[in-house]
């Protein structure tokens, strides 16, 4: 990943993350890994106002990650055929796009 060396995710531009998946399916692995990385203490510490909500269902539905940003934009990721690193990449690239000032200041 050329974006940032840090393994943590910066959630400053995110308002809410809702992750739902069906626990007994075999295609939820990447979604669960994404949840683990996004819901970690470090990630939560970057933005305490951001809610990370996870719903466990049993209806064989696709695993879906729904992210609402501070400026109202929504990012919907269907994690059935995606890997967790791909999801993280998209998510972080959008985050950096949304919040260029802080990132460029940090990089400089």
């Amino acid at each position: 990943m050329a974006a940032s060396r840090k393994a943590t995710v910066v959630l400053k531009t995110v308002k809410k993350i809702a992750i739902q998946f069906s626990a007994f399916e075999s295609n939820v692995r990447s979604t669960r890994e994404f949840l683990a990385k996004v819901g970690s203490e470090k990630a939560r510490a970057t933005n305490i106002n951001c809610e990370v909500i996870s719903t466990v269902k049993h209806d064989k539905s696709e695993p879906v990650v729904d992210i609402t940003y501070v400026d109202g934009e929504r990012l919907l990721m269907k994690g059935a055929k995606l890997t967790s690193s791909e999801m993280l990449n998209t998510f972080q690239s959008l985050c950096t796009a949304k919040d260029p000032q802080a990132k460029t200041a940090a990089k400089k």
Partner: protein
């Protein structure tokens, strides 16, 4: 003298191949065109240097020609599964952990699988403390051990739950309500499923299990429902005679009151 010194210096500064080689192979070497007879070295630089010593051009050419070209795979690496599946021997630690797991599954009636994406040590401590009050234990087992144990036992359908950071919450009695209440306090714990009394339940199943009333209440409800049917049929059958007897009683009462009223008016008249 100076000429001698210069000559000697020339000799010293230029290394020659060994005289024997020079005399013996003097005819072969020019034909091979291999190594030059003289290698001019000015400062007597070493063979082993700290920087990468520039290779001679001919050596560079040789290395370039003899580079390793791996054989192109017919199929991409992930296309076909491996022919011989590598079976790792189970380490003694794994065996011990498996035995512990077996005991846990035998003893505890309620085993819940929870994913915690983040829990600091303090959070875990407070959660464990709260659960300990209700005699519920929190256990960690490595995922591989869990999966290998589950696949060999009857609980194989629990295996897809065990991915990533998972925690086992076990207890001897199925105290689901208290567990759910404590888990609701820590937002990052996600209940994935539970095995309660040897039956696998999903998260919603666990919720509905917690809302179930106790066994006696359910039995009472069942009994009352059954008897209601029979009592209704009995009352239906007895409706007519009951109605008749009620009417007759009413009639008798009326007769009695009429007779008493008639006797009272007769007394007043006389």
């Amino acid at each position: 003298m100076s000429v001698n010194a210069a000559f000697l210096r020339h000799f010293r500064n230029r290394r020659f191949l060994s005289k024997m080689a020079a005399t013996l192979c003097v005819k072969l070497l020019p034909k091979q065109g291999w190594l030059p007879l003289t290698q001019s070295v000015r400062h007597g630089s070493k063979a082993v240097t700290r920087h990468k010593r520039p290779m001679h051009f001919i050596k560079q050419k040789l290395m370039a020609v003899t580079e390793y070209i791996p054989p192109a795979p017919a199929a991409p690496p992930g296309a076909y599964p491996r022919e011989t599946k590598s079976v790792q021997e189970e380490t003694p630690l794994m065996l011990i952990l498996k035995r512990n797991l077996e005991k846990v599954f035998q003893d505890c009636k309620m085993i819940a699988v929870v994913q915690d994406s983040s829990s600091s040590a303090e959070d875990m401590m407070s959660l464990r403390h709260r659960l300990h009050k209700h005699d519920i234990k929190v256990k960690f087992f490595p995922n591989e051990v869990m999966r290998s144990f589950l696949n060999n036992s009857i609980y194989c359908n629990m295996a897809p739950l065990i991915f990533g950071p998972t925690v086992l919450i076990v207890s001897n009695e199925p105290k689901v309500k208290e567990m759910l209440k404590t888990l609701r306090g820590s937002p990052q714990m996600t209940l994935l499923g539970a095995c309660i009394e040897n039956s696998l339940l999903s998260a919603e199943g666990v919720l509905s299990y917690s809302k179930l009333p106790s066994v006696t209440v359910v039995q009472g409800e069942l009994v009352s429902g059954l008897t209601m049917m029979t009592s209704r049929t009995a009352s239906l059958l007895q409706r007519h005679p009951a109605h008749l007897s009620a009417l007759l009683q009413q009639y008798v009462k009326q007769q009695g009151t009429d007779a008493a009223a008639a006797a009272a008016t007769a007394e007043e008249a006389t």
